[in-house]
Symmetry: C2
Subunit: 136 residues, 2 copies
DNA sequence: TTTATTGCGTAACGGTATAACGTGTGCAAT
DNA sequence: ATTGCACACGTTATACCGTTACGCAATAAA
């Protein structure tokens, strides 16, 4: 109930491997880091990773962090609501906290509409320091 | 009064050239596009562009679009308020509209604080279709 | 059976960004 | 004046990110 395991999608072998790597990581991973981790499983080329990532993102199981050029497993039960995800990225430990906020989603929609802009997706990535790192 | 020309910073030759390229462009430019445009002015290597861009971003004259890996001249009179800029990026024409919204800035701050996160900067980039392209 | 779709593997490539080196210039403090 | 420092600059090399183009195999649909 806390994972995406039961969204009904069934993953291919490569997709499963990439998903596994991201799920067991404790922070965002770059495509090339994933590639390196999966060499022993037969991965040889970036394209194998990118193809799997494309699908996983499409399924909503993985998010792409634009400001990091990296990918992270979605920690939410339901990410069907697109464009609502906000990431808090710690500059110190590199981890990403995923949150949603309806007020921001609503306001972004309003701002876009006000500019006569047909909104499709939103990227919201905040940089700063997480609680653990600030305490340390 | 509508440009940054009088912010008091004075730019070096390379910074001026890069700023000129971005100012006369009608959309975001990648670093390598800028490099190509400035070959005749003596530019030879990416680093010349990146160094200038770093400074221009630091001065607040230029914004970096994370989701595009590109750069755009700031069109606001005052961007001293950092972390408040929102970009509306048209998927069709590639242009970027720059807006600010205090409500979003405030709410982002609140969300970060709620997560015990010390917010430094915010990246907010919306994708969709601009009015001109939708009409076309 | 034929065709279309989808996933997979490989190689080569192009776009993005930085590291590491050294040079020159201006300027302040001796 | 010369030493020391900070800063911009130029060059080469390299690392990192992502895609194009090709072909093969398995499966699903007509």
């Amino acid at each position: 109930m806390t994972s995406h395991a039961q969204t009904g999608v069934d993953l291919t072998k490569n997709q499963t491997l990439v998903m596994g790597a991201l799920s067991s990581a404790d922070g965002p991973l770059s495509a090339y880091t994933i590639l390196d981790q999966l060499r022993d499983d037969g991965f040889r080329a970036p394209l194998q990773v990118y193809r799997a990532l494309d699908k996983l993102v499409e399924f909503g199981l993985v998010h792409r962090l634009e400001s990091l050029n990296a990918f992270v497993a979605c920690r939410h039960t339901e990410c069907g609501d697109r464009g609502q995800t906000i990431f808090l990225i710690c500059e110190t430990c590199g981890k990403a906290i995923e949150v949603t906020d309806k007020a921001i989603a609503r306001r972004l929609k309003t701002v876009a509409t006000g500019a006569l802009f047909a909104l499709q997706t939103a990227t919201v990535e905040l940089r700063g320091t997480c609680d653990a790192c600030r305490a340390a």
